[in-house]
Amino acid sequence: MVDARGLRCPIPVIRLARRAQDLDPGELVTVWSTDPAAVHDVPAWARMRGHAIEGSVDVDAADGAFTAITVRVGG
């Protein structure tokens, strides 16, 4: 999991990309973000890098709402 809450574009995507670099193809990674650009830019990055979006969930947490996007690392 990558916690990018409170960070603005393009930092959430950069943090996620760093994490994905260390993972094997097929592994899952989830990014938490509050940046409105991330819901567009995470799928765009995944498409450019050959990863797949597994799902996107809006979470209403006690310390503030965020979006959790899960990516399956491509091979």
């Binding site: 603005r8 574009c9 393009p10 995507v13 940046d35 409105p36 830019d41 765009a44 450019m48």
Partner: protein, 398 residues
Amino acid sequence: MSVVDPGFSPASPPPPPARVHLDAGGNARLHPLARQGLEQALTEGWAEPHRLHSESRRAAALLWGAREAVAGAVGAKTEEVHFAPSHVAALHAAVRAVALGRRRAGTTIVTSAVERAAVLDAARFVTARAGADARHDVVGVDGTGMVDADAFAAALTAPGVAVAALQHSNGEVGTIQPVRAVHAAARAAGVPLVVDAGAALGHAVVPEDWDVLTGDSADWGGPSGVGVLVVRRGVRFTADWPEDADSWFPGGVSVPSAFAAAVALQACADDLAAQDSRRRALVDLVRTRVPQLVPDVEMVGDPSNRLPHVVTFSCLFVDGEALVSELDRAGIAVGSGSACTSSALEPSHVLAAMGVLTHGNVRIGIDRTTTREDVERFLAVLPTAVATVRGMLGVGSL
């Protein structure tokens, strides 16, 4: 203290531009003939046009001539052409007045997802106060930014549509919309179609497939502070504001500015084909070279069905605001649709609707003064600018 610079002389030529300005969307440099027209109209048509004396009648005649010229350029009757104080005002008025005029037909407004903010804001404004049943139906676009014509047509046949809006082409990404097909569907459904040609007039041949048309003087090289609204006879509308002698835009507009805007539009029509091929060549240069020069770049918009003077791309792992500033330091002005470059923190709704990268976005609009040397200079500094900004974020080998 005088506000007029004593050193200023209208006869002295302007100094050569030291900077490269590539942000001409809605923001082009004044056409030389518009400057001449403005001077002429300031001399002959300075008076308020509604009075009975000769000075006023001269101003009124210039204003009528300007409406006539715009009518000729867009394929309308002179009395159907109205000047607005801005393109945004023209779009707001179009959506509000047609929606109100057709309130008995319904309260739904149909638009594409990539209309200008002024259209989407007006649609939200109108539907928010029109009761619980009022809807703003937004039709999506594909990855090139083109609206789904079938989905748009289907939305038009739903009961209770008051008005629909589809741009001729998108000013951010350049993609041309299927206006002909959508207008045919609108006509069949009996729904008036507002076509925003703000990014196209003066640059492309705009077909006469519309019921209401809008344009932006500052986009085609006329003065800023002038919008155009053309309303075909027979389109039902009700003014959504107090009565005035200038019924569409209370208080009217600056006659010299409107006159100069019309002169510029005519001048653009005169060399449209030459400008088209010249600017297409410059845009193609950017579209070909940028992906070769900069790693991880996504060119945005339809590669061929596009405006001749707009080109947009997004750079992965790049802060758009930092990139605009970096290019500015290098003497080059560009636009951007990235969230970090807007006060709202929201990225461009156009890029978002297309599903393309919204960060690291660069938007270029070239006008008639842009040279190949300007574009070459941009291409020469871009790779370093992107590398610098990526370096600041420690992107390295991602």
